[in-house]
Amino acid sequence: MSLSTAELDAIYLTLALAAITTVLLLILGTPLAWWLARQRAQWPALIEAIVAMPLILPPTVLGFYLLLLFAPDTALGRAWEGLTGSQLAFSFSALVIGSVIYSLPFVVQPLQAAFQRVPARLLDTAATLGASPLDQFRSVAAPLCRRSFVTAASLGFAHTVGEFGVVLMIGGNIPGETQVLSIALYDYVESLRFAEAHRLAAGLVVFSLVLLFALYRRDRRDSWRIRA
């Protein structure tokens, strides 16, 4: 199975986008989830609901609103252009931002659920041994929730790979720049080129299957050692 340059470009872009997005999601989602899990008050439930919002809007519609937000004549668009010298809309950065917003709930929610079940007793124990709150998180909570990190990262990654509506809308489908795999695949289906579509879909599925299988298998091995 040989791939065209356009396809290779799209694969590369997809992987880069998914990887960067996943990393950003974990960086942003982890503290947010931790904060939400440890707040006793009721009002953070509002933040939780807001985080879940991107799920509710159809991707293209969400994309449309994001596009309105990113356009060069909006505050954000102007600020970005002032800072970086280039336009935000239809850039790779825009794709990353859009993907992060769209996939945030998939990362925050499983992490929050996991963090809520970290026994306070163990964090207290760490504190008496001299661990600061950050250290407590790093050395106790995070390792105890490793399976949920795997879940969060793989949901985030997979969803970014498969994401399409938002990306199409704010990316502009520029080959080598914002044309990701899902759009290429979509194009094939749209133009009734089924053979190419099947080939690309099969490749994507096999690749992801291998990747996720390896990830989950490793996690299984490690987590059983601990639970034994």
Binding site: F64, L67, D73, Q87, A89, F90, L168, I174, Q179, L192
Partner: protein
């Protein structure tokens, strides 16, 4: 039941309103991109007639021998292209500094036509421009409308105020329709087809920015 390419939906709804008013027959409209609808029709979607945005898809469908017996494809409108944005001059198409939104040439006929226009030698300096391929013409419109793209090549139906692009700069944008059931069995379908071919409808179609078929 009518399946219609998204770009013609608004026009068709106006047409249907009059038909419903005249006959009392309800018409149910489903819209999506031409490709999605074609896929659905290939796999048994319960539509009676399909208004595509191009010529190719309809002929492919007619050639596929799955499903119930289909009618002959017929042309119902010819689209034309306009340029929106900037100062309105067509010469801007040669400016590499201006971003331009078009529909995806791989899937949308207006996108393909736009590419044919851009391929003309007078616009070759614009080769380095930022070319935004929207999924379809509507999205191309949105790109321009949101201000994210400076120029867009769109159907006249979407942007009546745009600068027309000469029709001979690209292959004709014929839009074909296809009946998906034998007409004989559906009297309502028969009368609907007659209505579509009526002068009233032709007038409505050209009002919406299309040219009538020959």
């Amino acid at each position: 039941r009518v399946a219609v390419a998204a770009n013609f939906r608004a026009t068709l709804e106006a047409i249907n309103r009059q038909f419903e008013h005249n006959t009392g027959q309800p018409v149910v409209v489903s819209s999506a991109s031409t490709g999605v609808l074609a896929n659905q029709i290939l796999h048994g979607a319960p539509f009676d007639i399909f208004f595509a945005a191009d010529r190719q898809t309809v002929f492919k469908l007619a050639a596929a021998d799955t499903g119930p017996r289909r009618g002959e494809p017929f042309c119902y409108a010819i689209g034309s292209l306009v340029l929106v944005g900037g100062d309105g001059r067509l010469a801007q198409l040669g400016d590499p500094g201006l971003s331009l939104a078009v529909a995806n040439p791989a899937t949308a006929p207006y996108g393909a036509a736009a590419m044919q226009v851009l391929a003309r030698p007078e616009f070759s300096q614009g080769g380095g421009r930022k070319l935004l391929r929207a999924a379809n013409v509507v999205q191309a419109y949105q790109f321009w409308h949101s201000g994210a793209a400076e120029l867009a090549l769109l159907p006249r139906a979407l942007a009546p105020a745009g600068t027309p692009v000469p029709g001979h700069w690209h292959l004709p944008l014929e839009q074909f329709a296809l009946t998906l059931r034998p007409q004989a069995a559906h009297p309502a379908l028969h009368s609907y087809l007659n209505w579509i071919r009526s002068d009233t409808v032709r007038a409505l179609i050209s009002e919406a920015g299309y040219r009538p078929c020959p």
